[in-house]
């Protein structure tokens, strides 16, 4: 049997979900025998490949780069999983939405001018530093998402529970506290 092509991606989040993924410990060895990791922050592949079976998406959609790669991922992947609370709800990155439209500017002002000790200047480098979107969105508000894996971060056993079912070709079903946010 051909191994499933798996990808993981890190949008606007803290990488905690990926840390939790690494907490899968010895299950990672089982996983390595069953899947092929084709794109991830933990491997050195620059371009998101075609024909990916499953992609775990960490983080909310916060900037122009997030948005661009997300559309690419959707076009090239069969099954998308919103991986963790930022992807599922917007979580902490989306708290800036409370400041209304124009918040992207306010956030930069606060971080790079008001709180700067040295050299206060807003970062601007077209083509290098992606521009912030006016509104941070959870992944499913932007593209169709098949499965949801809540948690901040989702504990390793919850990630395993979902992956095992996906690898068996089942529609994954998480229940009760396995769906806890936060």
């Amino acid at each position: 049997m051909e191994r499933l092509k798996i990808a993981t991606v890190w949008l606007g989040g803290c990488a905690g979900c990926h840390m939790s993924f690494l907490d899968l410990d010895e299950f990672l060895i089982d996983l390595a025998g069953k899947v092929e990791l084709v794109y991830s922050p933990v491997i050195d592949v620059k371009e998101y490949p075609e024909g990916v079976d499953v992609c775990l998406i960490e983080g909310a959609v916060c900037n122009a780069d997030n948005l661009e790669i997300l559309h690419k991922i959707r076009a090239r992947t069969k099954v998308l999983v919103s991986f963790g609370d930022c992807a599922v709800t917007g979580n902490v990155p989306a708290m800036r939405n409370q400041f209304g439209l124009g918040n992207a500017d306010n956030v930069l002002q606060r971080a790079y001018i008001e709180n700067a000790q040295f050299n206060p200047v807003k970062p601007k480098a077209d083509g290098i530093v992606p521009t912030l979107l006016e509104r941070v969105q959870p992944v499913h508000e932007v593209v169709q998402v098949e499965y949801f894996l809540p948690g901040c971060p989702p504990p390793a056993d919850r990630i395993k529970a979902l992956l095992v079912q996906v690898l068996e070709g089942k529609t994954p079903k998480l229940e009760g506290p396995q769906l806890k946010f936060g």
Partner: protein
């Protein structure tokens, strides 16, 4: 008192006249999800999570305020009810800023627990991300309107257990707001007795005792229970 015979989820039960469907179901071991219901204060049917179906009525009715009647046939867990409960829950999450990861009530929150018990893995509605303030003017307690579900448990506890009448509701619809006195900063309130019953009653992280950081907030409801027992059973068990 007269007994009424009815069925809940096909189960024959008998309940005392004047009891609610919620009380009768609880006695019969049938669990109905609730949020605005709190033992010890009267029910208002505000949150709509305990909605049930009654044969012969097209409307869904809140179990917490619906009185038992002879021959009533009640269903508490149908496809239609699950659909509406899930919808209600999602709207509650979309309406304010419920960021579980950084909430004082994370792990001790009735809204969070209801969400996973009812299988809510995401919210299908666009989040509103409204702007709400936090009132931290009181020396002992805080009020974070971002986490409020407007269940009114704090208001009922304040008026009907403590008898202080400090907490009230202002506004209409989603812009309704729990206020202190006539919308004063809590720290300036002269009517507040600092009893803390509002914070004990709160199902979420909206009302909290200061000093409780993320995931540390635990509800101590023993004082509420003490007063209710004293009032109803004439037992003063400290």
């Amino acid at each position: 008192m007269a007994a009424k015979t009815l069925t809940i989820d096909g189960k024959q039960i008998s309940a005392e006249e004047g009891e609610t469907i919620l009380q009768a179901a609880t006695e019969a071991g049938v669990k109905i999800p609730t949020l605005c219901h709190l033992e010890g204060v009267y029910d208002v049917g505000a949150c709509r999570l305990c909605l049930v179906e009654v044969k012969g009525t097209p409307k869904l009715l809140p179990a917490c305020t619906l009185k038992v009647a002879e021959g009533m046939e009640v269903s508490t867990d149908t496809e239609r009810l699950r659909k509406y409960r899930r919808m209600t829950l999602e709207l509650l999450f979309a309406e304010r800023n419920h960021v579980c990861a950084v909430c004082v009530a994370n792990g001790h929150c009735e809204l969070q627990a209801l969400a996973y018990e009812l299988g809510m893995d995401h919210v299908r509605y666009d989040y509103i991300f409204p702007r709400w303030e936090v009132d931290n003017t009181h020396r002992l307690f805080g009020m974070d309107h971002n986490r409020c579900v407007l269940c009114g448990r704090c208001v009922r506890s304040c008026w009907h257990i403590e008898g202080a009448g400090t907490k009230n509701v202002s506004g209409r619809g989603a812009r309704s707001k729990i206020i202190t006195d006539l919308n004063q900063p809590w720290g300036n309130s002269e009517s507040c007795t600092e009893c803390g019953k509002c914070a004990m009653s709160c199902p979420t992280g909206a009302l909290f005792r200061k000093g409780s950081t993320v995931a540390e907030s635990e509800r101590d409801r023993t004082k509420l229970e003490f007063i209710v027992n004293a009032r109803e059973k004439k037992q003063w068990n400290a």
